[in-house]
Symmetry: C2
Subunit: 211 residues, 2 copies
DNA sequence: ATATTTTTTAACCAAACAGTTAAACTATTT
DNA sequence: AAATAGTTTAACTGTTTGGTTAAAAAATAT
């Protein structure tokens, strides 16, 4: 049916109660945050009693942490693979933009969720939550530096390039409602407009790194 | 001392109790959101008793709404002025980037706060909270179309240009902790690096719109 | 000084909430 | 079918939280 990239809960089981609870928690925590999502609401959405939450997942904090880990562990390996993969720089950038815009447009709340969590408890991330295999963009960086040295692209720090690309891919979707206001578009118009972004971002980026 | 642009509470009074309460609420709501910030915490930060909050501001909801309005009404006129001002396109873009990066780097939580609120209650914004004078970027849009027609810049929809510029200015600061992880930098290194962004974004944008 | 209004506080209240308990119900094993 | 382990529930508990009240203290007016 649809094997597009998607950051969604996919812990162990299939349709078990445990799984349904986790899915409900995942959806509500990502949308409303730790304080915004209530245990009763999670129970209702999972179609079970509140006490069951505590039977399967000891506390709200524990459940929340599991959700955070699940989100992180699905979001970062995606970046990792792309940054560390082989192939010429241009191809890599094209694939990154295509994949990442696809990913974010299907999971608009996830970046906001991750950023909020990183702000809320920065230390926890480095100590416990984060996987040991954070994407190491050095391969990508060296590749950019090489192209600069060869004169194929203009001089720029690869870190800026990475930040710029990610910003152009992610922010428009995160801030979609804001841009809707700013551009005065209807939801339909905006969706149509957003579907152009894959190509626009590519043009924008490639033009901007020309020598 | 410091007359840089700053989105901060500046409702009526100076150092009155009422003002101190509002300032405390502003700070905590922007950082922690409606559910995350507690009334007791606001009272503590303002250095007063909790009951005083309800003496000056009837309910949490009311106080929150005032904070939201204050944030919105300081963030948007800033954009408005720049989008509707006179002057050649290039100058306008330069000023916009300088001003906006300065603004956001001093108020990193504000964009996140606005976006979260827009997601939480999209209707409220259009009905009550939003000022009637939303920035109308048509002047800017027509100017871009003109430059395209003259062949001074490559063909592109002005809406994409605006979104791209805003994304490049705002997102790196909003997602600072995420980039810290991704780039493996210390807070000091990252701050140093971020200070380069004004110039980098300008180069990136101008290069990308060349014919 | 006395009265009056504004400001501030401690103590209290009711609702919402995370979490607990003990019992019942179901499915599986023996 | 009896025992056992796994699953689900209703009812309860203690804490947090938004909000109230009544009275004291401070400031202002008469």
């Amino acid at each position: 049916m649809d094997n597009s990239p998607n950051i969604s809960p996919e812990i162990p089981g299939g349709d078990s109660t445990e799984q349904r609870i986790f899915d409900a928690a995942h959806e509500l925590f990502v949308q409303k945050g730790l304080d915004g999502a209530k245990m009763q609401e999670i129970a209702d959405r999972a179609g079970i009693n509140k006490a069951l939450l505590h039977y399967y997942y000891r506390s709200k904090e524990k459940l929340f942490e599991m959700v955070v880990k699940a989100v992180i562990n699905r979001a970062f390996p995606a970046i990792r693979q792309l940054l560390e993969s082989d192939g010429p720089l241009e191809q890599k950038i094209v694939r990154f933009i295509d994949f990442y815009i696809e990913l974010i447009s299907r999971n608009t709340f996830v970046p906001l969720f991750i950023i909020t969590e990183l702000n809320r408890q920065p230390d926890r991330f480095f100590e416990t939550i984060f996987p040991k295999d954070i994407p190491r963009p050095e391969v990508f960086f060296r590749q950019v530096e090489q192209e600069v040295a060869l004169g194929n692209i203009r001089p720029l720090k690869p870190q800026h390039l990475l930040i710029n690309i990610v910003s152009l891919c992610v922010f428009p979707f995160v801030a979609k409602p804001m841009f809707r206001v700013l551009l005065g578009m209807s939801p339909q118009e905006l969706s149509q407009f957003m579907s152009e972004r894959k190509e626009e971002v590519k043009r924008f980026v490639f033009q901007s790194i020309k020598p």
